[in-house]
């Protein structure tokens, strides 16, 4: 049995693990992310790696990071939330640890984790959608991560859903992310609580969960209320699911995947999300119901997907 290290660099924490060939995490550690401090983050990645490497004889290190990673799996070209610009992350971590390192986009790492050891072990072609603050995406095609000509393929959350639609953080309008992200969910919930007629049901329970302040309603509160049976919360999740399913209908035409895997915080809603997603997907399939198309699954590895996927990708 050989071991590799996976490091998942998130906005609030850096989590690492030693991963065996079967995708099991046999040792873990973590650090807080020193925000906006480029060298501090690299230092923390090195520290996490050293701590784990001291315990097991590891062959290679995979670092999963948000942002645009170059096709050589070596540099972070652009990572908005980490203040990184064209950072030679692979070489810096490798020099400091003496281990071979590869850098991967975090969504790609998570997709690989689910593909190899999680929800999509049985297919060759899968699409991952992570529905959290934004909508992330990654694509495994014919058993390989699809990275694209510049290493930045799979930005599925920025397919345009609505011409001249809602503003997206990316600078365009009408992206999937502007409709189907946790941020959009919360925005709608707060609008409903502020009196918008656009959403049916009463905001009473959501406002109660938010301690009386409509402006404090969060995504987990919407999920909680929906699971209690609250009509407004369920409507909000169903509306998000409708957009997600419509987007997935386009992804079926584009990729013909064997499976969709849905992860991210909003996926905690479980069947309350998945059922209307499948309903919407079914209504957006070109060729009707007479053709095969992808199954839809919830991610099964949770937050471990990034660690496991990065560690395993580093072996390839």
């Amino acid at each position: 049995m050989t071991y590799s290290i996976g490091v998942d660099v998130g906005g609030t924490k850096i989590a690492g693990g030693v991963v065996d060939e079967k995708g099991a995490i046999i040792a873990r550690t973590r650090r807080d992310t020193p925000s906006k401090d480029v060298s501090g983050i690299v230092g923390s990645i090195v520290a996490v790696t050293r701590e784990l490497a001291a315990q097991y004889d590891v062959e290679v290190v995979g670092v999963g990071s948000a942002g645009f990673i170059d096709a050589g799996r070596s540099r972070v070209m652009f990572a908005p939330n980490l203040a990184w610009r064209d950072l030679p992350l692979r070489d810096e971590v490798s020099a400091a640890t003496g281990l071979p390192v590869v850098v991967e986009n975090d969504a790609n790492a998570a997709a690989w984790g689910e593909f190899r050891f999680g929800a999509a072990e049985d297919v060759d072609d899968m699409v991952l959608l992570t529905v959290g603050t934004g909508v992330g995406g990654a694509v495994i095609l014919d058993g390989q991560v699809h990275r694209g000509a510049n290493g930045i393929a799979g930005e599925l959350g920025h397919m345009r859903l609505v011409p001249d639609g809602q503003y997206c953080g990316c600078g365009l309008r009408g992206c999937v992310e502007a409709y189907a992200s946790g941020t959009a969910l919360v925005r709608n919930a707060r609008a409903a609580a502020a009196g918008s007629a656009a959403f049916p049901g009463s905001p009473e329970r959501l406002v109660e969960l938010a301690g009386g302040d409509p402006g404090s309603i969060s995504g987990p509160m919407v999920t909680e209320a929906a699971q209690e049976g609250d009509a407004l919360a369920q409507h909000l999740i169903t509306e998000l699911a409708g957009w997600l399913g419509a987007a997935m209908g386009s992804f079926v035409s584009i990729f013909d995947p064997g499976a969709f895997v849905i992860g991210g915080g909003v996926a905690d809603a479980g069947a309350l999300l998945l059922d209307p997603v499948e309903e919407a997907l079914r209504r957006n399939i070109t060729g009707g119901t007479h053709r095969p198309y992808a199954t839809v699954r919830l991610a099964t590895l949770g937050n471990d997907a990034g660690i496991v996927g990065a560690a395993d990708l580093a072996r390839t």
Copy 2:
């Protein structure tokens, strides 16, 4: 030097050629397509193949056909315009000719032709869009045709552009094909000629080209008038280009291709199409102008792309 045969099965003709390792067609033949006659079409494919095989010592045959082809490159699962349903085309042609055969989707074949010997020889990741009666698509990723879990990936013309938009022949609404195909172009031209205020300029020249009958305006007439400088015709092509460029903006986020290649009859408009496509693409790029993205090129092999690509794919 070894040879293979490529056969391009179109709605009106079946064209075949002997293709060498460098993509050159060294012999050709063609038959009319016996419409709606399943066995007749197979017979014509066989006849074309035999005629060519009698002239050169060929190793393998590639047949490019519209429709859903199975992942085993063997069966035509569904081809609306050819009346084929689950046809074992590979085995039938192989049995009748004594040659090894593979079946490919025609857009995939054309994309492969352009990728290996045409407009996209210099990239590893390309997206082909054929803008004709419909909008076809094919994707080469990391040097391979992307076929998907069921063999039917790359139906790029059926990404949804407009929620609740115009009806598409596929049974859904708002697809790229409903806005950016030659059919949409002609529909708009005829509407303008019938007095719709929605399009600027005068329909006079288009109606003249159509012999006085607005209902006879065709795509080539729009191209001809546009090349003469007609304002309405140029507007119609620019409007189509706007939709195509918007779709391509999404494809950049999804695929991160090295190049787009645009073929099909509407591509005969050349720069009148390409310039506004590039302008629209530039305005639909997530991440703004500070990231690399695909170049846009016109297809260079014309109608030969399908023959050359099918022949070459058969070797792989």
Copy 3:
């Protein structure tokens, strides 16, 4: 008690009646509409009028016609389905009958009928929407028909609902009529029957009602199936109602009417239409639920509205 004659000029029949001051029709007659024959239609209007005038001592005649009527209530400027262009209808009918005549738009006449003697007797401001082959409209404001600067106000079916949306017979795209008319309903029903995935439920019952031919499905068949409980038919009506309610939300902001009255063939669906219309309207009210807004009612005079309204308008 005084009497007036109302004549309703439809595409298939010309129906007339003698109407008393309370809106009661005390005598009736009708002729088939001589299609596409301008003078024939005028002749039939004259014949209907003479037949009625021979029975009662009438003071005035009101003729309700489709099309653009001039502000002087005298000429039909344009009536696409009747082949009329700038026809001095008032003077022709008056000369032939010796009676004073006024010409009104047929939707205005029907709205006036409902306003004076039907569903909207209790309000001063009402909006009529007739949902039939197209979507007609008429507006009573402060107790008066709103005719506009050129006599052609109230074309409510041509407010744009969807940018770059479905083609409308008027030459534009995305009009209310393209989404919320009986024609749109039938188009969607036939698409569902032809295998479109966009509509939930099975088309089995609709196809059965159409004698096995999906292309023969009609609006009344959809209503019949919906009333039987058929899921697809109910979905189709609910989808139409969603568009209609959204349009009405805009009309609330624009007109602040006291009541909406919905007539036309699709209104035969009754509560199956009205309930989802009210639900959609409620979700499209600017200012939320904390402001007064219009009630929604079904028309009560049926096909008599045009006769009664034209007759009564002629007195004003």
Copy 4:
């Protein structure tokens, strides 16, 4: 010659004038608006009125205020920016001044001013659109202000332009105001300056006018740059004009007005706004170019329209 007082209650100032029968303002005064202080605002209105009434023998007072005014021209039911809820403004001002008072919606007052003494003196049916922070509207039909069943008609900025479009301050999505207001203009300008690819041209000049801070770009800066010939600024105004013209196309079908009058701060752009508005309107006319439709004019009374209109409406 008799005189009346008009008072225009704005968010930052309360401006009053004595107006003669010909619409001339023969005396003026103003106070700052005591923000969020209900009784303070009423007190300032009273003070303005008393000061003017001391100079001339006036017959009546018209007060124009933002918000929903009841049909009796007496109460402010709801005025979001003034913190008024169901305020008996007429009676309070009348009791304090001893003069008869009427209360009008401020857009209605401005429309009346333009209708009687400004840009629309020659028509009977006009639509006013004020394009400022929001998009206000008012409608004069057959020579009368159209107030609606509850006094709150003419909210033309809240007709829906885009289903599931951009968020509007009213709680809904996709309203005219969300696309064609000064607020939308500024939002787009700032997005362009922040690097959005969605807008052509360079933001350099706009950022310069804003002192180097993209977040400080204002509407007047966009107008200034556009008048200098800046490509981005002109594009932004043209995009706004496209939305406004599309909305006006719907208003033509709905109202058949004799004239549109465009006021508000964005109208300072003059022909840079008006020309593309007319172009867009022309392309959104049901019935094509073969029917009469409204002329489009800039407002001519500027900030005086509210004073003059309120004063004159008070006489009616």
